[in-house]
Amino acid sequence: MLGERSSVNGKNQSLFKDRPIKILLAKPGIDGHDRGIFVLSKAFRDAGMEVIYPGLLPKPEDVVEIAVNEDVDVIALSLLNGAHLTVFKKVVDIMKKRGIKDIAVVGGGTIPDEDKPKLEKMGITGNYGPGTPLSVIIEHVKKRAEEARKLKMA
């Protein structure tokens, strides 16, 4: 329709109301398995989000710098190589050091159940593994994006 634009969940009208959810997908560290991240990119796009994917092998510093440049609502980190406890932590540590509080971080990949509480404690939520329905992931991202959006202009 004329002049209609998608907005965040159609509800959060006061903050950047014309801007869809913006999400950065990244695989920091040494991990070249990008099939899953492409599937997620398309799912988020089809859910009305604006998706940034910077390619393989970004450093944790790069991930944070890109998130700031693009002013994303959510960073979605994925690793299939088992380094999530060290590399995901690096990303949130850099964010803390730079004083970034208004970007949510979610995780995913091959993450053992016993590691999930540790990631949650760092503020990294979701942590979904293979076989998770896309709708579950999308709902979670929307929820976290809304929280981040509220903080952006606070």
């Binding site: 329709m1 004329l2 209609e4 998608s6 014309d18 988020f44 604006e50 940034i52 910077p54 440049n69």
Partner: protein
């Protein structure tokens, strides 16, 4: 962040503030904050040279920008990049993939780069692009590179925004008939044929040169350059052509006047478009009006008049 912090941050050249300022103008176009921001920074703009890069999808615009921006940075100048990719007409979502081709150069050189979705705008740009460029200008960029959506023949909006328009083409896009066509082939300050290593590249250069030779070129002579963005072939010529075009604009009063007129046109058009959207949405969201339209036997021209001249906003 508070709006006043953002404004002073932009003027200091702080990337976080610049980024947030762009979010405001793209997220709440025409809002009080966005208007205040633009008015406060306006006195600090006018220093940056704006380079528009356009051309068909997949021709290598992003890769070219990656290399070009690195060379400019190494010459001691500050460069920022805005790249636009298409939004889905169905979901409103977008996959903004320009960054992939330039990320290495961005990370190595600390270049600010922002991806923006087209959000339903036609012509190759996006609604907030003008404000975005001005924010980067006020933030101290010497050069701002704007990459359009992969362009079709009539996507020529970038000509109203950029000081130097680079049309990127490649081998295999067609013969001289294509080079003769109107639209995107008429807006270039510089033609670049990318992928010069592929067969047919030199024929593409020749077709462009032949077509340009048919019309007398007064003032600026449009160069046709062959480059390979992956290995850097031809980039010395590209850099010196951009420099020559900058000098041409600076020493030519007509060119300067054209740019100011275009700028005025863009701002006025954007205000007009926003006012149109407000009025149209107000009309369409009113249930009563829907019923009037369905009933038929209405004079649609009269209704259009009443919408467009409704000044109570």
């Amino acid at each position: 962040m508070k709006i006043n912090e953002i404004i002073s941050g932009v003027l200091r050249g702080d990337k976080t503030s610049i980024s947030r300022a762009i979010s405001i103008v793209e997220g709440e176009p025409g809002s009080k904050n966005s208007r205040m921001l633009m008015e406060k920074i306006y006195k600090n703009i006018g220093n940056a040279h704006i380079i528009g890069i356009t051309g068909p999808p997949g021709i290598g615009k992003s890769t070219l920008i990656g290399r070009l921006s690195g060379i400019i940075t190494n010459s001691g100048k500050r460069v920022s990049i805005v790249a636009i990719d298409a939004s889905s007409p169905f979901s409103g979502g977008a996959f903004l993939g320009n960054r992939i081709r330039m990320q290495e150069s961005l990370a190595r050189n600390g270049i600010f780069m922002r991806s923006i979705a087209s959000r339903g705008m036609e012509g190759g740009l996006t609604a907030s692009i003008w404000e975005t460029v001005k924010i980067l200008d006020a933030g101290g960029s010497d050069y701002i590179i704007v990459e359009t959506v992969g362009a079709g023949q009539s996507d020529i909006e970038v000509v109203n925004l950029a000081h130097t328009v680079i049309v990127v083409l490649g081998p295999g896009l067609g013969d001289q008939i294509q080079a003769l066509k109107a639209g995107i082939m008429e807006i270039a300050s510089i033609f670049v044929v990318n992928k010069i290593d592929l067969p047919g590249a030199y024929i593409a250069i020749k077709d462009l040169q032949d077509t340009l030779a048919m019309s007398p070129q007064k003032g600026w002579k449009i160069p046709v350059l062959g480059v390979n963005s992956l290995d850097g072939t031809g980039f010395d010529e590209l850099i010196s052509s951009i420099g020559a075009h900058m000098d041409y604009i600076q020493t030519n009063d007509n060119a300067k006047e054209e740019i100011i007129k275009k700028e005025l046109k863009v701002i006025a058009m954007e205000e007009l478009r926003r006012s149109f959207e407000r009025k149209m949405n107000a009309f369409l969201s009113d249930q009563k009006n829907g019923e009037i339209l369905i009933k038929g036997s209405v004079n649609i021209y009269q209704i259009v008049d009443s919408i467009l001249h409704d000044d109570k906003e």
